[in-house]
């Protein structure tokens, strides 16, 4: 069963790298949004520094949403998902493997890109460590919660928009606590509020690791039959 799990994970990573679709597209989108932002807001460095954590998080969230719809749909459309369910791996673990693959190819590259883009927004130096830590804790939650939305809309053509709408409310806590942990106003994680935000973000992420696979598997079961 472990072998099957890693075979599926390795296949997903390989496909993501070869197609260059998912992760690359998300990072590029992230880059475009953050590049355009100073043009829209104007070159006020004080203001940019103030909105930087929030804007980085919002752009990251949108970039992650953009890649969600193909999480199960590609496998559903070509019949692979049927065969995956006929293996010995429980559907819950199939969802874990796919969500983990999504995080490794989309969430992690976004976290790596975030500090570079932070420079463009004049993000204060002391905000980098808490921001990156918060993103490392928060992005798995995006993949695992997103898996529920992707599983619910697996049979819907152009289901991406619907998945985004379904998942959006669940992303709100990640956004609030993520920004809270990195916000200079709360003192970053040096401050009491910042530390609490980070802990709550961790709690959301851990809960999503459990709820995502369970909810995703239930949604797939309902959709496949």
């Amino acid at each position: 069963m472990t072998r099957a799990f890693f075979a599926l994970l390795a296949r997903d990573l390989r496909l993501a790298v070869r197609l260059g679709g998912g992760g690359g597209m998300a990072v590029f989108f992230f880059f475009v949004v953050i590049t355009l932002l100073p043009f829209g807001i104007g070159p006020d460095r004080e203001l940019l520094a103030k909105v930087a954590p929030g804007m980085l998080w919002v752009a990251l969230l949108l970039a992650a949403l953009l890649t969600l719809d193909r999480l199960f749909q590609a496998d559903y459309e070509d019949g692979s998902l049927d065969l995956l369910t006929m293996g010995l791996l429980p559907l819950e673990l199939i969802v874990v493997a796919k969500a983990l693959g999504h995080w490794l190819t989309t969430g992690l590259p976004l976290v790596v890109a975030a500090p570079l883009l932070g420079l463009m927004l004049n993000l204060p130096g002391e905000a980098y460590p808490p921001l990156i830590l918060a993103m490392l804790a928060g992005t798995p939650a995006l993949s695992f919660l997103g898996a529920i939305g992707a599983a619910l809309t697996v049979g819907v053509r152009r289901g991406g928009l619907l998945a985004s709408l379904l998942v959006m409310p669940f992303y709100v806590p990640v956004l609030i606590f993520g920004v809270g942990a990195a916000d200079a106003a709360t003192g970053g994680f040096a401050g009491e509020a910042g530390r609490q935000s980070l802990l709550l973000l961790g709690a959301v992420a851990l809960a999503s690791l459990v709820l995502g696979p369970l909810g995703g598997a239930a949604a797939l079961r309902a959709n496949l039959r």
């Binding site: 069963m1 072998r3 099957a4 075979a7 599926l8 296949r11 390989r14 496909l15 070869r18 197609l19 459309e77 070509d78 019949g79 692979s80 049927d82 065969l83 995956l84 369910t85 006929m86 293996g87 010995l88 791996l89 496949l224 039959r225």
Partner: protein, 208 residues
């Protein structure tokens, strides 16, 4: 594959799709080493029956019982299903595809070569699936049957897009699977020449 005595029995099976009753009151039984060939007009429920047996479609009514296999596993986990969709990823090579299914379905990481040879795909091993012809794609999805030993084969129109030589090869593989005590349920319009097979005609009364 050590198959002592397999038996599959289906009693009073019904299938419903989109609120429409496709078939009901379907019963048959099959023993290890036997093949059942499903025939019938389009929409009679041949594919639906195969999907029900594979556990991919809910059973509206009736009982599907399988004995003699691994009691820990469901019918679908002991069966191969080859349907209309070939489940191939364009960017994965022939070898990678077979190795993946071999590891995923059977936890056997090595030795995918024999499956490729059995289907005459060995010379294409390093070619991405995107460049395969329709018949080669079909052969690649059939390679799963050999790559992972499972007692039941559920085949939905397995000969589509295959040339005469490949059909012959497939029939040879099916014959040896039956000789080893395996079981085949196939929907086909073609007379495969499998020798002694049992037939089941679906939707006959709907036509009358």
């Amino acid at each position: 594959m050590t198959i002592s005595e397999l038996s599959l029995s289906v009693r009073d099976l019904a299938c419903e799709r989109g609120g429409r009753l496709v078939f009901d009151g379907l019963s048959f039984s099959l023993k290890g080493g036997e093949a059942l060939v499903l025939t019938g007009p389009n929409g009679a429920g041949k594919s639906s029956l195969l999907r029900q047996l594979a556990g991919l479609l809910d059973v509206a009514q009736g009982v599907v019982a399988f004995e003699g296999g691994d009691p820990e596993l469901s019918l679908g986990e002991q069966a191969h299903y080859v349907g209309h969709l070939d489940a191939l990823k364009p960017s994965m090579t022939v070898m990678e595809t077979v190795s993946f299914w071999r590891t995923y379905l059977g936890s056997i990481p090595e030795g995918a070569d024999t499956a490729l040879e059995a289907l005459g795909l060995a010379h294409l091993a390093d070619l991405p699936a995107a460049y395969l012809s329709a018949g080669q794609r079909r052969r690649l999805s059939l390679a799963r049957l050999i790559a992972v030993p499972r007692p039941i084969w559920l085949l939905d129109e397995p000969t589509v897009a295959l040339d005469a030589a490949s059909v012959g090869r497939l029939v040879g593989l099916m014959t040896s699977h039956l000789a080893q005590g395996g079981m085949i349920v196939a929907a086909t319009h073609l007379d495969l020449g499998l020798g002694e097979t049992r037939g089941l005609r679906l939707g006959a009364e709907a036509m009358a």
